[in-house]
Amino acid sequence: MKLKTLAAATLAVATVIGMSACGGSGASSDDKTITFWHNASAGEGRQYWENLAKSFESANPGTKVEVQAIQNEDFAGKLQTAMQDPASGPDVFMSLGGAKTQEMIDAGQVMDLTDKISDTVKTDMKTTLSAATFDGKVYGVPVSVEPGGMWYSKDLFKKAGVSDVPATYEDLLADAKKLKDSGTDAIALGAKDAWPAAHWYYWLVLRECSSEVYDKSVQNHDFSNECWVNAGKKLQELNDLKVFNDGFLTTTAQQGANSSAGLLANHKAAMELMGAWEPGVLKDLTPDQKPMADLGFFAFPEVAGGEGEPGALMGGVTYFCVNPKASQTSIDFVNYMGEKKNQEDYAKAFSTIPASEPARGVVTDESLKQVIEYLDKSPSMQLWMDTALGTNIGNALNAAVVNMLSGQGSPEDIVKAMEDAAQKG
């Protein structure tokens, strides 16, 4: 009996201890060891970060970088939990971007790097640094820039008799019709993930609204200007042509041959509106697992009568932030990321455009080179609209666009959904 009591008591104590032990996480104990979180959980990207950590360690004897790859979908949630107490959070981490980074800054969870970034970062990345700048202060070191645009199959365009890529939205509508008549799905759309569908709306807003109206609307969450509804109407015109792939509402963006990227990679759809990560995604989905041979790129066409700046782009910038409690080693590490050689390796490993301008010579992919051309010509690049607006309004916007495309809402409903969401956050 005594033994039983003892065992039970031990169990109770163990439970209590076990539960309290759940708290602690990988906070670095000394100044030379840093923890680093990124989201490249597989393939060459993951290898790149491992290599970078090793070369940093050998360049700075005595330091140690503990690299943790976290699944992209889990990243935001895990970071948010870990940073509840910055002392236990990672020292260097991939930013969440836009409004979310702003919220972390407001909560005192990101270090102000304005005086700490190296001159290399300042000069090489001056065009992308703006994405990591809030209220005139720099909070991160960019590694890549990913503007969006139309990715298309040159073969399918030729087969349908479309010789030139469309320069205006009206051309795009006409070409889409031609492609549809030639027997393929003209446009691949992964509306299950919502954002790929909403990108059509972002771009049309960018073309319809003047840049002042756009900036003010996004900043003040005021969507009363007519151009917001007009953009929805333009998208409705495209939707009425029924040129999207059949069953787009339950199609994902990137997973498998039935996803929108898979449709393009397997020549079942002729084009897709997507960010500059597209070649890397397509590469894994083609029948032979090689880069898509006839892939082409053109910028989102201009809209007649629209007030947006011609050539304006929209895209994302990936950058890395530093924990305010972190040591000098962490600052050295993010500066190390920005060096030309490391940026070149980054571009190769991720098949993307590096943030550092001198490093862009390393890009060999034809379509990515075209993107760089547009990037050089472009007067400005806006952040993805949902990132800029924050997930609260952004998600409502994305879902509302999908709703309209499925025939259950009007262009006015999109604006209303954004205004309603503002009440919840």
């Binding site: 109770a12 909560a107 919502a194 609260n392």
Partner: protein, 352 residues
């Protein structure tokens, strides 16, 4: 009646003997027993408090703030009182989600209940291959939701396998997943397919605990198969049925995974299959509105609690008496049991 009283009368002296036995060493026995109760229940109580009670209290607290999940609500959030709750209850999307959830609660009961009883009746008979069919019916319940969801979402695509089979048969398939008029029925069908195995197993177990003598007696009295089922199986299966209804309702109220996997986090509202839980995840975690999400979670908790308590009070308590309630209820149960015994007797009369 008299029999029952006798049973209780016999029961009492036994209890008193025990007590008297304890009086010999009162301090020792009682103290040890309390200690044992304390130690043995401590882990469960601690877990319950940490992972059920505390989160509810914290959720209620967060629900009063507009808070993005960074820092603490009092520092980085804005106190808004009941606004989150009002916005949620007024949001047509949430009202839709509640409606869908209750459609699923009722739909699964109506579809699965009769089917499960029929299947159980069938599988309770002796025939060749019974073991195989029993296993096959139970298989979907064992398969993980993620696999079921992914599999069916591929099969039911507009150009998926199901529609292609229908086409080769000369029929026109519908858009099973995306058409808002069809999607909720697709979901109900999938849920029934997935969870009917559980219901059947429960019913089978219930049927097997019915004494064989009753059936034999009924047969001797010349009752037909359906009459036997109606007058013996169904009434005596009632406790199992009541528990199954309760479990099914709770499961339906919390339905999340299948919807989330098949329709993703954005399309469920458009397709008309959003549930309370998918709404909470989309508007709370997905949108980064942790304050608002907590308010929604609390509303869901209250709704589920009301449903569960109502059901328990009016239907389930006859099965749970004694386990949950006090002596007064014991008397009540005694009364009811007598009534049931009488009903059973009458039923037997009916069979005769």
């Amino acid at each position: 009646m008299t029999e029952m009283n006798d049973a209780v009368a016999v029961g009492r002296p036994v209890a008193e003997t025990k007590k008297r036995g304890g009086e010999r060493k009162p301090s020792n026995g009682k103290g040890r027993r309390n200690l044992e109760i304390f130690i043995l229940s401590a882990p469960a109580i601690i877990l319950f408090c940490c992972f059920v009670i505390l989160p509810i209290i914290l959720g209620a607290y967060y629900g009063f703030y507009q808070w993005k999940g960074f820092g603490t609500p009092s520092e980085n959030g804005k106190f808004v009182g009941l606004q989150n709750y009002i916005v949620a209850l007024k949001d047509p999307n949430f009202q839709q989600a509640i409606l869908h959830t209750f459609e699923i609660v009722i739909g699964s009961l109506v579809i699965q209940g009769p089917l499960a009883i029929l299947f159980a009746l069938l599988l309770n008979q002796k025939f060749k291959g019974r073991g195989l069919i029993r296993t096959l019916i139970f298989v979907p319940y064992v398969v993980s939701e993620v696999i079921v969801g992914t599999g069916w979402s591929l099969l039911l695509q507009k150009k998926g396998a199901v529609n292609q089979i229908l086409e080769s048969l000369g029929m026109h398939g519908v858009d099973w997943l995306a058409n808002p008029k069809v999607a909720i029925w697709t979901l109900l069908l999938l849920i029934s397919w997935k969870y009917i195995g559980f219901a059947v197993i429960l019913m089978l177990a219930g049927m097997q605990s019915i004494p064989e003598e009753l059936y034999e007696a009924a047969k001797v009295d010349g009752a037909g198969f359906w009459q036997i089922q109606k007058s013996i199986t169904l009434p005596l299966l009632a406790p199992t049925l009541r528990i199954w209804v309760f479990l099914s309702m709770i499961g339906s109220l919390q339905l999340f995974d299948l919807v989330y996997i098949i329709w993703g986090q954005y399309v469920s509202t458009t397709a008309g299959v959003s549930t309370m839980a998918t709404y909470m995840v989309r508007e709370g975690r997905g949108a980064g509105n942790y304050g608002y999400g907590s308010a929604v979670a609390l509303i869901i908790f209250v709704i589920s609690l009301i449903v569960a308590l109502t059901y328990q009070h009016f239907v389930l308590n006859r099965d749970l008496d004694g386990a949950l309630t006090d002596k007064k209820a014991f008397k009540k149960r005694k009364k009811r049991q007598t009534a049931e015994d009488e009903a059973l007797a009458v039923a037997m009369e009916g069979v005769k």
